[in-house]
Assembly symmetry: C2
């Protein structure tokens, strides 16, 4: 599958190692992750070199062409919130994952869209397992 | 006008006093702000008492009925990012304001939607002035 993986960039990188492990697991499963570079440590610096318009158009194009969007939402992010809404609006299945000790906006957890799934996790193994369950349910 | 004022709740309240001053200025101008209580210090605690579904449906209903959405985006927030996309998608004019020393996601600053305006400010007076200019431009 083509999986758009969404994570915080400007908002903070405290969960960067989690992002990297999720991307590694999905890549190992044979999925295509157009955003895989955004999980890397150099992502913040590399994204700074692109114009805002280029980033917007690249990301929207990737969402239009993905099969599903998987978002790590432990760290608040305007961009990821926007992307979740954008993907749901064009009918893409969306999985939002967050660490069980991190609160998530009620605009995400309260969204009744049947294409949206929100899960918490306490370990990287559990996060990857939640993604597998979500993908199998499609 | 009916102005939906969007600000971070779960994501952090460091800019709470700015939220309050913006809401006070718009109320003084005679505008109706359905979200005015979200600028108050007790907002985090009060919102906790509501179910996620109730918050989602209340906020979406307010966005559907507003004339414009004004978002303070200095503090990252999934909810505010989602709301900005939701409002643009139904054709509402949107103003995103951020402190000049705070970075904003390129999914916001790079969005080519002509209904979206993004401005920075260095003082509360400048923030209110930017809102006045935006409202007069409509």
């Amino acid at each position: 599958m083509n999986i758009y993986f969404a994570c915080s960039i400007t908002g903070g990188r405290e969960f960067e190692s989690i992002y990297q492990e999720i991307v590694a697991a999905l890549t190992k499963d044979g999925h295509e992750i157009p955003t895989s570079h955004l999980a890397k440590s150099e992502a913040v610096e590399n994204e700074r070199l692109l114009t805002p318009r280029d980033v917007y158009e690249r990301d929207v194009n990737w969402i239009n062409n993905c099969d599903v969007l998987v978002a790590e939402v432990s760290i608040p992010s305007h961009g990821v919130g926007y992307e979740i809404g954008f993907a749901l609006n064009i009918g893409k299945p969306v999985l939002c994952l967050h660490h069980k000790e991190r609160k998530v906006s009620k605009m995400i957890t309260g969204n009744p869209d049947p294409a949206l799934t929100v899960c918490s996790y306490s370990s990287i193994e559990e996060a990857v397992s939640q993604i597998h369950t979500f993908l199998q349910s499609l």
